[in-house]
Symmetry: C2
Subunit: 375 residues, 2 copies
Amino acid sequence: MFSTIETPRLVLDKARLEKNISRFRDLAAAHNILLRPHLKTSKSLDVAAIANGNAKSGVTVSTLKEAEYFSAAGYTDIMYAVGITPNKFAHVKRIADQHKNNLLLITDNVIVARASADFAEAEQCQMQFLIELDCGESRGGIALDAPELLEIAQIFDQCPFISFMGVMTHAGHSYTTDDKERIGEIAEIERKTVVEAAARLAQINIQSEIISVGSTPTFIFAKSFDGLTEVRAGVYMFFDLAQFSRSICQLDEIAISVLATIIGHAKQSRSLIVDAGAFALSKDISANTFLPDAGFGYVCDPVTMERLGQLSVDTVHQEHGNIRLDDDAWFERLPIGSMVRILPNHACPTAASFENYLVVENEAIVTEWQRVNRW
Amino acid sequence: MFSTIETPRLVLDKARLEKNISRFRDLAAAHNILLRPHLKTSKSLDVAAIANGNAKSGVTVSTLKEAEYFSAAGYTDIMYAVGITPNKFAHVKRIADQHKNNLLLITDNVIVARASADFAEAEQCQMQFLIELDCGESRGGIALDAPELLEIAQIFDQCPFISFMGVMTHAGHSYTTDDKERIGEIAEIERKTVVEAAARLAQINIQSEIISVGSTPTFIFAKSFDGLTEVRAGVYMFFDLAQFSRSICQLDEIAISVLATIIGHAKQSRSLIVDAGAFALSKDISANTFLPDAGFGYVCDPVTMERLGQLSVDTVHQEHGNIRLDDDAWFERLPIGSMVRILPNHACPTAASFENYLVVENEAIVTEWQRVNRW
């Protein structure tokens, strides 16, 4: 089915995508919780439409470029889940003005809160803010007991141009373990952090309309969603070896792969060379922590998607990937010019190497979907 | 100078770029050897024009998309330095037809050579080929003593539509050491490999017009260029921490950096958060082998480009970078909203995260240059 395709190409299996999305939509329905899909993995209108049941509202993005792209397509209720700084206010206002869409912004900082209020008043510009909490990852977010929690909320509450919308956090450290019990514990801390933050704010009569958590692992292994209004997750749509290595998905649920051509038989080093290297696969090796043979990706049959023996991409150069062989018979099975599909370590950076998806269904290429990359 | 710039942005220092290029052009002139700049790092017409002294001929590329972009701009004598396979022949022919430019292709394989001859005859299409040798990296290329060397050359020699152009190799393993003597030895093996390959071919009356080697480290530390017709190198235009870590360049010669904004003060983990994460910096950590504090990049003052204390980007998430602090005073020195410039580990993947360069000169933004990414 790929014989005329120039490689490397990013391939998306539509049936797997739909199945993954259904699983998470069903999970959200079963827990009676809103799922706000994170579009940072797919960065695609077509994927978002499936992920969101064709509803053009209630999504998460990681860049203002994504926010603009989805706003231009009619999406509203978009959370930009990276701390805003004043040098991005003009862009936020442009999106509000041009696309009639007021983003949900986040901050963890008093100075940004004050600057936002100043900007909103000076520009007569409506803004919406959530406060970001840290639930243990120590990336963004303030501590639950930080005095700034109340201070920031009060700044927003007192500004007539800013709507204070609530609290959010992200348990990114749920990726540091493959122990489901431990992920469940992290999920519980994630939940309690924002629920208790909202309670602290309620004590000073500031209400949180949105109480938001999110990561793919914690959504799956959470024991409770009490008090939350929504969950954000993104990589579940595609999955990858990093998720497989943490028992979050099965290999045959990974919806994304890189189609590559065997361009060399390096007999002296007993390896195959493919035309998918660091630029096509990315240098992310996050699956290897719990899956030491992941390398830069599992090498699969391009049609059946069965892994070829124990083959992985072992080393990468800019445009070359090197697959070490355990048996010379692979030189016969995979002649120069034959193709493989490589399951990626981490779907987000691998997908970001490409501008579009070659969408396959029932062993046929059905269409091409675009992505919105960069900033 | 950057106050109105939305971050992250890729910044290119024009004075440093020109100095690096001059150094290599002078080196080539001193050794009386042709420098065929590799454009895979910059992927930019503007950078290529400086690198090639405005000559539109004699360059190297890593993708057919680059080949097409430079061909469309009038470049000729372009070597596509990744082994070709039959699924890319149609693209090669399209470039030849549309842009009147016959690429220099490479192969290390008898099957590809035969397929090329068949394609060239069937399509009445002129093609030009070099044979790729392995000089120790064990990536692409055949061994010097492989019988296929003669066999491939004969296939080309006998095909009326194919011009056999010569031999090439790449000492990518020169990056595995920071010992100048050892790099010099690798350079000598690189040189001998192709010179001796050309001699083997001359014995069967097949002449090599091009005898080509190349890598930035081996070019600098080579003891001899005898018998070579040209050298390929690319990263020397920008340099990076990987080159600095191997004593190939000084810190103040690195021409490329990522402009980022401090978007968070994570007091609980004593770190700064910047809006340059894995997607802006890449996950390449190749400098760390010989420069353990490189992390995901050195953090510098945005104007003076002096490194700020011992600060590096220590961890990255998709859009977040985390800078661990040795002193709380940094929270005062780098308030939320202030900017830094980050020197990258490896210029090639970092630059590939962006569509364009913000070009600065004499502490002012002078222009924007475009790049051609992907395939």
